[in-house]
Amino acid sequence: MRAALIVSAVVHFMILAGMLVTLPDAEGFSTPSVDALPVELVTIDEETDVTLGRVDAEEVLDEAAPQTVEADAPAEPDTTPGANDAAAEEIATDENARVDAPESSAPEPAGLPEPVEAPAPPEETPPATDVAAADPLPEPPAPEAEAPAPVPETVVPSRKPRPPRRTEQARLQRPNENSFDANRLSQLINRTDPSGGGSGSAQASLGAASGRAAAPLTLSEKDALRSQMQRCWNPPIAVRDGTDVAIIVEVRLFIDGSVEAIDSVGAQGVGRLYDVAADSARRAVLQCQPYRLPTSKYAEWKAVQVTFDPRDLLR
């Protein structure tokens, strides 16, 4: 028993020691330096950008939001491509506007998931306030809202905010909407089917939005970050010819791409040469901020480990 225990212990120790010696040498998943090719790698999660579901999630909406009623007159708010919900949320505060456009509250019963965040009624207000500030003609929005009175119900609530961006000129043109206008062709083409919850291209599904895994940076996004740093790195002359110094720093970034902090992680080399190389690395990181990275992937690049390795530099 005792002998077996000893043998067992020794053999275990040898195996573990062997693993410790050999396994840590395995390379990490570092990105090899490659020249950027004009090829964009599209990951599958971009295509199937769905939120992860939870089985116990309350059923919110399984089908599309209210469908557009086939109406001859196009809904006025629907005609301004480009506006989005976020803008509407910020400015939908004016009381008057709420009075001006009571009709637009109709969609609420549709039970959309959004209404809580962006109540439909206030969404109509922006046009009034915006225009009022800019022009001496605050009225126009109201008549417009009334004119298509039968139509509002047909409008997807989430699209409502768009009217604010309309120009005075566009409103004046509106009475002629029955006649074909080539300039508005794009608006017809751009019209998309109403979708359920979420914004952008996300599809409606069960579950919390936060459950979605963040998409990793694409190879070309990483390459862009790398080349941005390389442009600012001025390796000191003493480390340019294959000196055995490498600097590893962890760079923490704000969402606007500016540097929050630079922490030393590890390094190779000591003494003056190391200090000089480390200073040049920090200068490079600071000088090239802000970094242009997709904010949607902030979680991915909030912290970046950067290795400045001059060992392969040629003078």
């Binding site: 212990a9 790398r226 600012c232 002359i237 200073d279 200068r283 490079a284 000088q287 970046v304």
Partner: protein, 437 residues
Amino acid sequence: MMRIFQRLSIVLALLALAVTPARALLSIDITEGTVRAIPIAIPHFAGTGADAALGQQIAEVVEADLGSTGLLQPVNRAAFIAPVMGTADVPRFAEWRAIGADAVVTGQLVREGGNTLKVEFRLWDAVQERQLVGRQFSTTPQNWRRVAHIVADAIYESLTGEEGYFDTRVVFVAESGPKNRRVKRLAVMDQDGANLKYLTDGSSLVLTPRFSPAGQTVTYMSYEGAQPQVFLLDVETGRRQILGNFNNMSFAPRFSPDGRRVVLSLQEGGNANLFEMDLGSKSLRRLTQTGAIDTAPSYSPDGQQIVFESDRGGTQQLYVMNAAGGEATRISFGEGRYSTPVWSPRGDLIAFTKQAAGRFSIGVMSPDGSGERLLTTGRHNEGPTWAPNGRVLAFFRETGGASGGPQIYTVDITGRNERRVITTTLASDPAWSPRRD
């Protein structure tokens, strides 16, 4: 037993944890950079009364030193927000960055008693917004140039990682008079050409001066007396002595890295061989014995090997041998003739003069003869000498024409940043001093 086993397990588990990466972090490898001169702003040093002018002069010498390297780029003073800055002022970094400065130097002069001047300076990193170096020196006001060079050395070191070489001197042969009656005098100057001082009176021809590793003594060849001989000269005191009483001509002397020996050529009939003289015992030891001309010996920095030129193979080529003598290995195999080899103080390169197709080049190669690179080529370039950091070479270039003559130039080992050292006389055969302590 059981307890030992448990402890072992715990230790192993901890070790395993220690080597396991904590998390997958986005990681980027930067293996390329953009090499450019570092822009640096050097406002005048602050000082009161007469010292204000001195503060300006010191800042300008620092600026000239750093600008001459090609690795740092002084920012034009006209753009400065604060033309004078003392060490008590913390620079407003954003303003300096706005005019393109990555680094800022502030300094001030404080008078301590009648003839003692305290010079303080700080080097600031305008990007990281912190101080990189801060030092002070006490000196006499007459010594301000040297202080400026020391300040420049400290700045150069903390921005490039290389050892500074501004607080050094160059001994050379100053030439004057018409071409057919040139007067050649031994002279010494600061590396930037200032503080010229003649060491000999010009009554006899002098050649090949070389500094001792301590920087105090110069060995050179002089044509005085019956035949040319090698002398030792103390630069500070002017005391001079002949190296040894040889029956034949002695030439091409050079100190060993420890300063205790001198290697030189002695004429033997139509040939010349290498000898080593111990300065303490004055004993002479033969290193080569060939029917050829072996000359221009130079030690490796560790003192273990000697590189020299020899025509034993038919033409002048470079050879390396053990410092104790013995078999020599040829290292130069290119077209043309190679001469005046000098081993770099870093040990990684040997500089030489190469003559091919009627043109003279200054080049470098590895001690094994590989990686030959020519740094400059022209009608006549000759006699390289290393700056103490092994990054820069000085040599002389002969210009043609009636009024032409030799001038000293510097070039860095990449072949870039060639500059003429401004001297008041024609100058040849430079030898760079070691760094002063």
